[in-house]
């Protein structure tokens, strides 16, 4: 695979086809964990890590286990199990090795299991027929795209707390409208290509 191919996958995953704002994957943590900048950043890094690992493991499991035995129809079940096990493992590892990071992430770590973006990246890798390197790049850059979106959104939302808006829009609805405006801004990247 050429360098430009990898670069265009990376650029696509971060900007053009951003996981949250264009593909609508991982909206729950995007809205739930974006009230403060610090937690948003922590969640973003945890997601980059897990999405990268999930891409690696799901590719290996699919290519070496499911395809040789013609079990592709089990992909959904197997992928979610791989991801759940992975998150559990990462949690135990962080608890022993880096307790400070574990403390900072807290409840958000186990919640990554039900993040659509993680299962989504594994399924999309298979759907697009990416090879190992492409899958890993797509997973990690997809996570970076997620982090950029959630950090941007958290910084806007911190100010939104003090904004004067109609009573019915307070809280969740105004956050959704704001996210929509950020999605509108990201539409400006569509058509961006690496030659």
């Amino acid at each position: 695979m050429s360098f430009t191919g990898i670069l265009s996958i990376a650029l696509g995953a971060i900007l053009v086809e951003n996981f949250i704002l264009v593909k609508f994957l991982g909206i729950c943590p995007f809205l739930g964990v974006s009230k403060k900048m610090d937690t948003a950043l922590g969640m973003g890094f945890a997601v980059i890590f897990v999405m990268g690992l999930a891409s690696i493991f799901c590719w290996v499991v699919n290519e070496w286990l499911l395809v040789p035995f013609n079990l592709e129809y089990m992909q959904t079940v197997v992928y979610i199990l791989v991801i759940a096990a992975l998150v559990q493992f990462v949690e135990m590892f962080l608890q022993k090795a880096v307790p400070s990071l574990y403390q900072a992430l807290g409840i958000y770590l186990p919640l990554i299991t039900t993040n659509c973006a993680v299962l989504g990246v594994a399924l999309l890798n298979t759907q697009y027929g990416y090879n190992f390197l492409e899958s890993v790049v797509y997973g990690i850059t997809g996570g970076i795209g997620f982090t950029i979106a959630i950090v941007l959104f958290a910084s806007v939302r911190e100010r939104l707390e003090f904004a004067d808006c109609p009573k019915a829009f307070e809280g969740f609805p105004i956050a959704l409208v704001t996210a929509g405006l950020i999605a509108l801004a990201f539409m400006g990247f569509s058509g961006l290509k690496v030659w």
Binding site: C28, T113, Q127, P166, A168
Partner: protein, 215 residues
Amino acid sequence: MNIGKQFKEGLITQNPVLVQMLGMCSTMAITTTLFNGIGMGLSVLAILTCSNIVIAALRKIIPQKIRIAAFIVVIAGFVTMVDLLIQAFVPALVNSLGVFIPLIVVNCIILGRAEAFASKNTVLASAVDGIMQGFGYTVVLIIICVIREFLGSGTFGGGILNGGLGIRIIPEGYPALLLVLPFGGFLTLGCLIALVQHFMSRSASKEKKNEEVAE
């Protein structure tokens, strides 16, 4: 067991999307035509009901510590079944929903109901809960689909009526294409939730009606 109460909870007071704010990804991503909305809604309804029944039946066998993993396996099994059925009988839906059919596994509504309701109640009550919550989800999806399709592409019933093209209401060139794009998903859902909050606060405190908010 009180079917009337569960019906009201599923549709309005505990609506999975508008009040509990669960299952946001699919709600915003696929609601561009009526066909998508109905297909997605019915798939979730079927999976939610089946998984609720099985989880309620197994609630005394599943150990407390690994219950989430066990729930996910049950749900993933039903999602795979529905996915294969859709591929066999409604292939058009596979093209328009794409990766969002397998992603029903991580739809928070299903895991949420399994944890909050099915793991504590009888099989029959859980089945009714699954149908009502799934129905509430489907109704919201259809409402969002109709709004976005009408304003964004100017048609009604896309994918089903008039040979899949839908009935054209607004002439071509006039609809705001923006509403079928991701921005429209966020905006429509935000306005819909604001509307619900408005009516809930109004019915609670009998406040004066505010015309602008409804817009």
